[in-house]
């Protein structure tokens, strides 16, 4: 697993292995852009695109240990398969909200699973 998740108030904190921290940060930055592309795809009725992007989010969110993002990807993929516009819109809102709550902290691998960590490092900083 690449991250351990903690709830800290309204924040969703992920403890990420220092060696892949920069990749996790880049992944989240890409997801912010992906939300916009998903909204465009939804407006255009491009369900194949939504399905494909949901599929990628499911896989990559899981690989980075960010299970909530992975679950949103899985649900987006399924909703796109059903062409369920209201559900996709709600999931995109949920995804945007989840991304705004995420905070990454770099830890050494042995610290994963512990609550100790370095000073918080906000996404994109």
């Amino acid at each position: 697993m690449s991250a351990t998740q903690l709830e800290a108030g309204n924040r969703q904190v992920y403890l990420v292995d220092r060696d892949v921290f920069h990749l996790a940060k880049r992944f989240l930055q890409r997801q912010e852009r992906a939300v916009q592309r998903l909204q465009v795809a939804l407006r255009a009725g491009d369900f194949a695109k939504v399905c494909s992007m949901g599929h990628d989010l499911k896989g990559s969110g899981g690989a980075y240990g960010m299970d909530k993002l992975s679950a949103l990807g899985r649900d987006l993929e399924a909703a796109a398969g059903e062409k369920d516009v209201p559900l996709i819109a709600a999931l995109l809102e949920g995804l945007e909200n989840e991304l705004s709550r995420v905070e990454l902290r770099a830890v050494t691998e042995s610290q994963e699973g512990e609550t100790q960590s370095s000073a918080p490092l906000r996404r994109g900083t």
Binding site: S2, L23, R30, H55, S60, G62, A63
Partner: protein
């Protein structure tokens, strides 16, 4: 070890490549099946890691063509979100060596990569000593014996000799040899590589008369073969 990774999602490709590099592998990433197939016409790898759903040529189609048309018996690990029994059966029938369902987890992923390479090519650990026929290689002391007599080899010749002896019968591309012996960034000409190979052939006596052949494969690379019986050295004109 040198591995090729086929994965079109950059987030996952970067992460898997990083995990592999942290574990000491040299990873070459591809995001399209056709690109990997083109590369495999001139390159060799110790293992291939394939995603199923990639643009143009799918991972399973890459595997099918690899096994049918190309010369590769390279071990293949599928890492894919497809988890239907029929998909897994299909991949294994196309002679994939293992199948892993996403999301990939680091330690499991690395253990599976190591396992497929070890199982299918009987790799010896890179730091272990080993014996083949009359050769004995001690990786700790970096000594090389033939018939229990030490051979004087330069560092590069030692690396080259052990590379060939670890993978007897496997065709290795020039790129593969260059990367494993000189490193990724080294600027080594074909002439240099050929000179080293020739020197290793002579120093180790890898000739049909001794039961070995270190053969050049035109425009591709080299293969070390162990012949069933030593062949007497009979000049052509006799």
């Amino acid at each position: 070890m040198r591995v090729a990774l086929l994965e079109d999602d950059p987030n996952q490709s970067e992460l898997l490549a990083r995990w592999l590099e942290m574990a000491g592998y040299r990873c070459h990433a591809f995001d399209k099946g056709a690109e990997l197939l083109r590369d495999l016409e001139r390159e060799t790898y110790d293992a291939l890691i394939l995603d199923w759903a990639v643009p143009d040529v799918s991972g399973v189609e890459v595997l099918r063509r690899l096994r049918q048309k190309l010369r590769h018996h390279t071990p293949v690990l599928f890492v894919t979100a497809r988890q239907q029994e029929e998909d897994i059966v299909n991949a294994l029938k196309q002679r994939a060596d293992d199948y892993m369902i996403k999301p990939a987890r680091r330690h499991e992923f690395l253990a599976r990569v190591e396992a497929v390479a070890r199982r299918t090519r009987a790799l010896t650990p890179e730091h272990s000593s080993f014996e083949v026929d009359v050769f004995r290689v001690d990786m700790q002391t970096r000594t090389f014996n033939k018939n229990e007599q030490p051979l004087e080899l330069t560092t590069k010749d030692f690396e080259l000799a052990t590379l060939f002896l670890r993978d007897i019968g496997c065709l290795m591309s020039r790129g593969h040899i260059r990367e494993m012996v000189w490193g990724v960034d080294a600027n080594v000409t074909s002439r240099t590589l050929d000179t080293h190979v020739s020197r290793v052939r002579n120093k180790l006596g890898l000739t049909p008369e001794t039961g070995w052949r270190l053969a050049a494969v035109y425009r591709y690379g080299y293969r070390l073969e162990q012949l069933s019986k030593p062949r007497p050295n009979i000049p052509d004109d006799e």
